[in-house]
C-alpha cells in the first residue's frame, strides 16, 4: 500500500522553481500592459495641499497620473475596506482615497506609463506640497498614553501578593523593536483587463480575502474580478491582509481600461505591515525549589493611529507553566505609522521571548538548571482553563533536544565555558504555538485515465502546500503522486481561509480526506453496478482506495481499477466538492511545543556573536512530510537568529520616517550567519485536535529561538541584554 503521508517527499513544484518556470505576481503580462509607479508621502501626518503633475505628464510615454482628486470611484464605508483578517477596531487605510496623510511612505499618486522606467522617472517629477501636523512615531513616547485592552486572560488568584512573598523573585522589562517581514518577492499586482473584467495576479496569502476586498472597494460583482496567485515569494504574514498595491492596480486598470502592473519598491514595502514594537514586563515569583507561584505579564504593543492591531502576547505565559497565581495586562500604543500586523508567530515569537528570557533569569536566581526549572513548572493542563492538552509531548522535546545538544555537559556558571578568545554560551528555551484548523472546501476531479485534480483556493507561500496536498490526495485516492495535480491560489476555486496561523496543513489535509471519501463513495456506487461486482452489499467503510483500485478491506483481492470503474460507467470523470468543518473539541487545549537549545560563541574582546548551532525538538502532531517540515522549522529558527541578533526597523522620530527601509541596513541573516541547525520531531499522536492529528509547523519553528540565543549570550558573557536585537555594542556597553 502506498503511504506518502509521513514520507520525506521532494517538493512537487521543485522543478518549476529551480528552472525559473514558476511565475509570481509581477511575471504575468498582457500585450498592452501599462506599468504603474507610486509616489509616497515624505511626511508622517498632515494633508496634501497641492499636487503639481505637469512635469510628469510632459514625459513621453506617460499615460496618466492618478491621485485622490481624480481617481475612479471607490467605496466610502469602512466596512468595504475591512478584509477578513482586519483588526476589529478602527478604520482601514484607503489608498489614494483623500488628502489625509496617516504615515510616511503612504501612496499619494499613481503614475501610469508605457514602461516601468518611464513610470518611476515620471513619479520622481511630481511635486506635492503638504500641510504638516505634529506626529509621534516614538514608541517610548507613546507608551505612556497607551490604552488598556480588555483583560487578555482571567487572572488567577492574587499574583501581586504571591509575588511579594515569593522566596525568589525576578522582574524585568523586555523590548522588541519593530521588525519587517521582508519576503524576497517584492509586493506586486498585475491586473489583466478583459472587457471590464479583471484577473488580478497578486502576491497574497489569501486570494479570496483579496477578492472580497476588491469587490467591495470597487463595488463590483464577484464575477468581475478574479484573483490568482499560483506562487508566492514568501510572505510570513505580510500577505494576510490585502496590500494596497492590489487596489491601486485595479484602480488604474479601471481608469485606463488597460492591463496594469504595479510592483512596489523594497522601500515602499516598509509602509505595509510590520511586527509591532513592544515592551513586556514579566514578574516571576518562585519557591526556593523552583515552583512558580506567581506570573505577571504586562505588554504594551504598538499600532497605527487608525486601526487597533494587537495579538495576545500574554496568553503564552498564561497557559504554559504551572502557577497558582497569574495576572495579565495589555496596552496598546498608537503611533503615526501604518498599522502593524501579523508576522511569523505573531505574539508568540515576542511573548515567549520575554517569558523564556525571564525564566532563564529566574533559573539563575534559583541556581537551578534551566531545563530543570521548566520541568519543575511543567503543566499537563492549560493553566488558563484547566483543560488537558489534546497531546503534549514537550517532556520528550526537552529530553531529546538536550540529548542531541549534549546539554548535560553544560557548566552552569556564566563565562565558564570558552575556547581561545571565544566565550561559549549554551542557552535553552521552550516554544509554544496553537494548533488550529479552519473550515475549508476541497474539490477533487477524478478522470477515467486515473488522474486526479485536487483544487482549493489556498496558497503555497513556500510552506509546501502543493506537496502535502499531493501526498495526502495520493494516499486518500490510492494513486501515485504523479497522478495528482494540485490547483490552488485562485479565487474561483473552492473556499479556503487565508494561509496563516499554521492552520493550513491541518485544514486542507482533512479537507482532502473528506472529499476523497465522497469520491470513494461514488466509486463504490458505480463499482456496484458493474456486472459481477465483488462489492455488492458492501458499505462505504468496507472499501478503500489503494494502488489505483477500489478494494475490499476484508478481501484485498477484490479490487477493480479506479479507471475501469469510471469507464464502465461511461463517464469521463467523477467530481466532488465538499466542505469540511471541524467540531469544536471543548475538552482539550490544542498546542504545538518545542524545546530549543542554542550555542553561541562570543568574542571576548569585540563582542561579535556567532550562533554555532541550534537544536530544536518539536512536538507538532503528525508530520506529513519530514523533508519540507524540517525546512519549515529550520526557516523559523533562522528567523529566530535574525530576531535575536539582527533585525530592527530604525525610525527617525523627528521625520517620522523609517530610515533603513532596504535590506542592506535592515539586517536579516545571510548564509554566513547560519551554521548547524538540527531539527528533531518527537512522536506525538493526537486523536483529538482533528481527524488526521495534524498540528501545523509554520510558526512553532521561530518561537523561543530568540530567547534561547539571548540566554546563551548571557551564559557566555554574564551580560543580560533584554532589548532586541543583541548587537555587539549592547554587550560591551554593559560589560
Amino acid at each position: 500500500m502506498t503511504n506518502y503521508i509521513g514520507t520525506a517527499t521532494s517538493r512537487v513544484d521543485g522543478r518549476d522553481k529551480v528552472t525559473g518556470v514558476a511565475r509570481y505576481a509581477a511575471e504575468f503580462g498582457a500585450p498592452d500592459l501599462v506599468h504603474a509607479s507610486i509616489v509616497t508621502s515624505p511626511i508622517a501626518k498632515g494633508h496634501i495641499k497641492r499636487i503639481d503633475r505637469a512635469r510628469a505628464m510632459d514625459v513621453e510615454g506617460v499615460i496618466a497620473v492618478l491621485t485622490h482628486q481624480d481617481r475612479p470611484a471607490m467605496a466610502d464605508s469602512d466596512k468595504a475596506y475591512k478584509d477578513d483578517v482586519a483588526p476589529e477596531e478602527g478604520s482601514p487605510f484607503r489608498p489614494l482615497y483623500d488628502d489625509r496623510i496617516q504615515f510616511s511612505g503612504q501612496p499619494v499618486a499613481l503614475v501610469l506609463a508605457e514602461d516601468s522606467e518611464t513610470a518611476s522617472y515620471a513619479a520622481s517629477l511630481i511635486d506635492i506640497t503638504y500641510d504638516e501636523e505634529p506626529h509621534v512615531t516614538d514608541f517610548a513616547r507613546a507608551r505612556d498614553k497607551a490604552v488598556a485592552l480588555d483583560a487578555p486572560a482571567k487572572p488567577r488568584g492574587d499574583a501581586a501578593s504571591a509575588f511579594a512573598t515569593s522566596d525568589v523573585r525576578h522582574h524585568a522589562d523586555y523590548f522588541v523593536p519593530i521588525e519587517h517581514h521582508n519576503p524576497m518577492e517584492l509586493f506586486a499586482s498585475t491586473a489583466i483587463w478583459n472587457d471590464g473584467k479583471l484577473t488580478v495576479y497578486d502576491k497574497t496569502q489569501g486570494v479570496q480575502n483579496v477578492h472580497g476586498y476588491l469587490c467591495r472597494v470597487f463595488e463590483c460583482d464577484p464575477d468581475d474580478i478574479r484573483v490568482v496567485s499560483p506562487f508566492v515569494g514568501g510572505a510570513f504574514g505580510s500577505g494576510l491582509r490585502p496590500a494596497y498595491q492590489a487596489a491601486l492596480a485595479v484602480l488604474a486598470a479601471r481608469a485606463v481600461h488597460r492591463s496594469v502592473r504595479l510592483v512596489l519598491t523594497r522601500q515602499q514595502m516598509y509602509a505595509l505591515g510590520y511586527r509591532p514594537a513592544m515592551i513586556q514586563r514579566i514578574q516571576l515569583g518562585a519557591t526556593a525549589d523552583g515552583a512558580l507561584n506567581a506570573i505577571a505579564h504586562d505588554a504594551v504593543t504598538s499600532t497605527s493611529r487608525y486601526e487597533d492591531f494587537h495579538r495576545n502576547e500574554t496568553t503564552w505565559s498564561s497557559l504554559l507553566y504551572k502557577s497558582e497565581t497569574a495576572s495579565y495586562q495589555h496596552k496598546l500604543a498608537h503611533l503615526d505609522l501604518a498599522t502593524s500586523c501579523d508576522m511569523r508567530a505573531p505574539s508568540a515569537a515576542t511573548g515567549v521571548y520575554a517569558l523564556e528570557a525571564a525564566m532563564d533569569e529566574l533559573a539563575v536566581a534559583l541556581g537551578m538548571d534551566p531545563v530543570e526549572l521548566r520541568l519543575t513548572c511543567y503543566s499537563d493542563r492549560d493553566q488558563r482553563t484547566g483543560l488537558p492538552f489534546s497531546s503534549k509531548n514537550l517532556r520528550e522535546c526537552y529530553r531529546r533536544g538536550a540529548e542531541a545538544f549534549g546539554w548535560d555537559r553544560r557548566s552552569g556558571a556564566p563565562r565558564s565555558m570558552r575556547e581561545g578568545r571565544e566565550l561559549i554560551g549554551w542557552g535553552m528555551a521552550t516554544g509554544v504555538w496553537e494548533a488550529l484548523q479552519m473550515p475549508i472546501t476541497v474539490r477533487i476531479a477524478l478522470t477515467s485515465n486515473g488522474h486526479a485534480e485536487v483544487s482549493c483556493a489556498t496558497a503555497d507561500i513556500g510552506t509546501g502546500t502543493y506537496t502535502i496536498m499531493t501526498q495526502v490526495a495520493a494516499d486518500v485516492l490510492g494513486l501515485p503522486i504523479e497522478a495528482i495535480s494540485i490547483k490552488l491560489g485562485d479565487s474561483t476555486l473552492p473556499q479556503s481561509p487565508v494561509e496563516g496561523g499554521s492552520w493550513m496543513a491541518a485544514s486542507v489535509s482533512n479537507g482532502i480526506v473528506t472529499t476523497g471519501k465522497a469520491i470513494r463513495d461514488d466509486l463504490l456506487k458505480l463499482a456496484q453496478h458493474i456486472p459481477g461486482s465483488p462489492f455488492k452489499g458492501l458499505s462505504n467503510d468496507e472499501v478503500m482506495l489503494v494502488d489505483g483500485a477500489i478494494t475490499s478491506r476484508a478481501n484485498r483481492r477484490d479490487a477493480i481499477a479506479i479507471a475501469d470503474v469510471v469507464r464502465a460507467a461511461s463517464i469521463d470523470r467523477i467530481e466532488r466538492k465538499e466542505q469540511t468543518t471541524f467540531a469544536k473539541d471543548k475538552a482539550h487545549a490544542h498546542n504545538t511545543h518545542s524545546a530549543i537549545f542554542a550555542e553561541v560563541r562570543v568574542d571576548e574582546d569585540i563582542g561579535v556573536i556567532r550562533v554555532a548551532r541550534i537544536v530544536s525538538a518539536v512536538a507538532a502532531g503528525r508530520i506529513l512530510n519530514p523533508k519540507t517540515a524540517r525546512s519549515q522549522i529550520m526557516g523559523g529558527m533562522v528567523w529566530g537568529i535574525g530576531m535575536a541578533l539582527h533585525e530592527e526597523t530604525l525610525i527617525d522620530h523627528r521625520l517620522g520616517r523609517i530610515m533603513n527601509a532596504n535590506i542592506a541596513e535592515y539586517h536579516v541573516p545571510v548564509n554566513a550567519d547560519v551554521h548547524d541547525i538540527d531539527v528533531i520531531f518527537v512522536d506525538e499522536q493526537d486523536d483529538f485536535v482533528n481527524p488526521m492529528g495534524i498540528k501545523g509547523l509554520g510558526e512553532i519553528g521561530i518561537v523561543g529561538v530568540a530567547a534561547a540565543i539571548a540566554n546563551a549570550v548571557y551564559h557566555a558573557t554574564g551580560v543580560r541584554v533584554r532589548d532586541l536585537p543583541i548587537t555587539l555594542d549592547k554587550l560591551t556597553r554593559t560589560a
Binding site: 515569494g233 541573516p669 548564509n671
Partner: protein, 155 residues
C-alpha cells in the same frame, strides 16, 4: 528617448535589442525578453535574487545597464538545464530541499553554479561566505550549503 542597439547571447541564443540606456539588464531580461526566471528582490544589489552569469561570472543584473553589455554572454536560470536534464546544482537543490518559496532560488543556483566552476570554495565556511550575497528569507541556508556540497561531489 535615445535607443541603443545591443546584441546579447542569452542562454546560447543571439538576441538583438533596441533599448533605452536606463534599462537595467534585469528589466531587459524580465520585461523585454520575458525571461522572468531571474528575480527582482530589492533592485539595489542587496539580495542577490537577480544573479545571472555574465561571461560565466555571477553578477547582480539589477545594478548594470543592458546597453553596457553588447556582445556579452549571459546565462540565466532558464539556461542551465540541458535537453530537459537538470544541472546537478538544480537537482541537488530539489533533493536537499534548498528552497521554500523559490523566489531567491534562481539567484542562489546561478551563484552556486559559478562557485563550483571557480572551485575556490571547498569548506562549508567558504561556501557560506561565497554564497552570502544571496539572501534567502525562508532560511534554507543549511540546505543550500548541503546541496552545493553534494553537487560538488557529483561534478
Amino acid at each position: 528617448m535615445q535607443k541603443v542597439s545591443v546584441a546579447l547571447l542569452i542562454n546560447g541564443d543571439r538576441t538583438q535589442l533596441e533599448i533605452a540606456p536606463w534599462t537595467t539588464l534585469l528589466d531587459a531580461l524580465r520585461d523585454r525578453l520575458h525571461l522572468t526566471g531571474t528575480k527582482k528582490g530589492c533592485d539595489h544589489g542587496q539580495c542577490g535574487a537577480c544573479t545571472v552569469l555574465l561571461n560565466g561570472r555571477p553578477i547582480n543584473a539589477c545594478l548594470t545597464l543592458a546597453v553596457m553589455h553588447d556582445g556579452a554572454e549571459i546565462t540565466t536560470v532558464e539556461g542551465l538545464a540541458r535537453d530537459g536534464v537538470l544541472h546537478p546544482v538544480q537537482q541537488a537543490f530539489i533533493d536537499h530541499d534548498a528552497f521554500q518559496c523559490g523566489y531567491c532560488t534562481s539567484g542562489q543556483i546561478c551563484s552556486a553554479v559559478a562557485l563550483l566552476r571557480e572551485g575556490r570554495a571547498r569548506t562549508r565556511d567558504e561556501i557560506r561566505e561565497t554564497m552570502s550575497g544571496n539572501i534567502c528569507r525562508c532560511g534554507a541556508y543549511p540546505n543550500i550549503v548541503t546541496a552545493i556540497e553534494e553537487a560538488m561531489k557529483a561534478t
